[in-house]
Amino acid sequence: MKDTKTNNMNYSAAFEELQQIVSDIEDGEIGVDELAEKVKRAASLIELCKAKLTSTEEDVEKILQALEGGSK
């Protein structure tokens, strides 16, 4: 479900676009014709955000563990 367009996107840009899409959908500004496309895009943004979050979490975890391990 990865989209090539999201490859170089950062979290905040992805999150912003996601917000815009969800807000557009909520406001009824997206018709049936675009809906599937938009949902697809949103889903891929969500995937991206989640992946970024997970990777950040892991990175931080690793860094801090190294730090704590080094301080013993």
């Binding site: 889903a43 989640k50 979050l53």
Partner: protein
């Protein structure tokens, strides 16, 4: 002619005078007078005091008197006992006397007794006058106001060389067990009687010359008899002492009231011994603090240094402790930063994840809603089309039916069926009676067939 004279012999006269005195002055009288001269004859032991009374410095009465040897001894003893001094010239006395006249010795007063209390009062008055005068001149406190050196160790002693008082005094200051060294010089002087004033004054003048060599003058007189102390009440002597440039100390042993000299002296000890002790005490007062200072010096600096060492050790230990505490604190702070960061990072991540999930949920719900609502709308549209169509068809059908009925009503066949007929003239339907004249031929069309008829008349009768 000369009258008969009565003549008397001298004896007769003197006897008569004697008798008259004896009759008139029967008892002894207490008389106040000034004893100008005592006129004591040491050989016989009798005295012939010269008595006067003065007013404003002038002699207003004068009389000789006798004081027999026994009376003199008794009165003198009483005097010494009461006043501390013997009968002498120039004192005021109250005496008991008989007035007598002797044919040979003439008028005389025989002093039988002298009241020393009266004279004492007089001396006291003189003493008070001296004090008053000194006070008036501002000299009373003069000598006292001088500063006695801390160590009154150089003494000009006014005393009698052989006096026991002096010996007592020197015994103490020379042989004190503390090794205090005094320097003193004797300025010998009489210390009693009338000549004392002059000799003391003389020696004071001598001392004045060398006053820089001395810390104080000590007037020392041994105890024992109190005779002749009135010289110390003398104004001149008192003034000389009061004015003296260095402190005058007195150690005059006696049992009576303090003399003026003693009152104005810088310091008065009641005996020479006491004066010596006073001086020793002054040395003590100097020596004790010095010895205490020495002791303090021997103990306190080492205490100070000991305390200082302890202080230094304490602060030295504190540095180690403080530094270690500061390391612990610093490490804790670092740890805290790390903890805070960790906590916050995971907080951010989890919050972000929550937000993303929220959007995911919203996306889900909303997109399904859109689809569902579109389904709904399509259904409604479907129904609307059906409804509207069927209604329109029904309406059209109704309209057509109405039209059919209308047409049926308009068909003339249907009128003729009900018995109506159409009257025509030349093929035209007659609607007005004016259209026909009598005699016209009309055709009447019936449902079945036609009738030919002639018009007889027409009117406007109507239905």
């Amino acid at each position: 002619m000369q009258p008969e004279r009565t003549t008397y012999t001298l004896l007769e006269l003197t006897r008569s005078i004697q008798k008259t005195f004896a009759d008139r002055y029967v008892s002894a009288y207490w008389i106040r007078a000034e004893m100008n001269k005592l006129n004591h004859y040491s050989h016989s032991g009798h005295c012939f005091p010269e008595l006067v009374e003065k007013q404003h410095g002038k002699v207003v009465a004068q009389m000789r008197s006798t004081l027999w040897r026994d009376d003199y001894i008794r009165a003198n003893e009483q005097f010494i006992e009461t006043l501390g001094q013997p009968l002498k010239d120039g004192i005021k006395i109250l005496f008991l006397a008989r007035v007598g006249f002797d044919p040979i010795y003439g008028l005389s007063l025989r002093i039988m007794d002298i009241d020393p209390a009266y004279t004492l009062g007089d001396i006291e008055r003189e003493k008070q006058e001296t004090i008053l005068q000194l006070k008036r001149e501002g000299l009373y406190e003069q000598n006292k106001s001088l500063a006695l050196p801390l160590l009154p160790k150089r003494l000009a002693i006014i005393s009698v060389e052989t006096s026991k008082g002096l010996a007592d005094f020197l015994e103490i200051i020379d042989k004190n067990p503390w090794g205090y060294r005094f320097f003193y010089m004797l300025f010998p002087s009489l210390l009693q009687g009338d000549k004392a004033v002059d000799t003391i004054t003389l020696q004071l003048n001598r001392i004045r010359k060398v006053k820089n060599h001395f810390d104080a003058v000590a007037i020392i007189r041994g105890g024992g008899d109190d005779i002749g102390l009135s010289c110390f009440n003398n104004y001149r002597l008192a003034k000389a002492i009061a004015n003296f440039p260095i402190p005058v100390l007195s150690g005059i042993g006696h049992s009576t009231n303090e003399t003026v000299t003693e009152l104005i002296a810088h310091y008065n000890a009641i005996t020479p011994t006491k004066l010596a002790e006073y001086l020793i005490q002054a040395f003590h007062n100097f020596s004790v603090p010095v010895m205490e200072a020495q002791e303090a010096l021997l103990s306190i600096p080492s205490e100070i240094l000991k305390k200082e060492k302890e202080r230094l050790i304490t602060i030295s230990n504190m540095i180690g402790r403080t530094v270690k505490a500061s390391f612990i604190r610093e490490k804790q702070t670092l740890q805290n930063q790390s903890f805070r960061m960790k906590r916050e990072v995971f907080h951010i991540v989890s919050r972000s994840r929550y937000e993303v999930n929220q959007y995911s949920t919203t996306l889900d719900v909303r997109s399904r809603t859109i689809i569902t609502s579109n389904h709904q709308i399509l259904l409604q549209t479907n129904k609307a089309i059906s409804d509207y169509c069927r209604r329109q068809l029904v309406n059209t059908n109704e309209k057509l039916t109405n039209m059919e009925i209308q047409v049926r009503h308009l068909d003339p066949v249907n009128v003729l069926k009900r018995g109506y007929s159409i009257t025509m003239q030349n093929g035209k339907a007659i609607r007005d009676h004016h259209m026909v004249k009598t005699g016209d031929t009309l055709q009447t069309k019936l449902l079945n067939g036609t009738i030919q008829s002639l018009v007889q008349s027409s009117s406007n009768d109507s239905f």
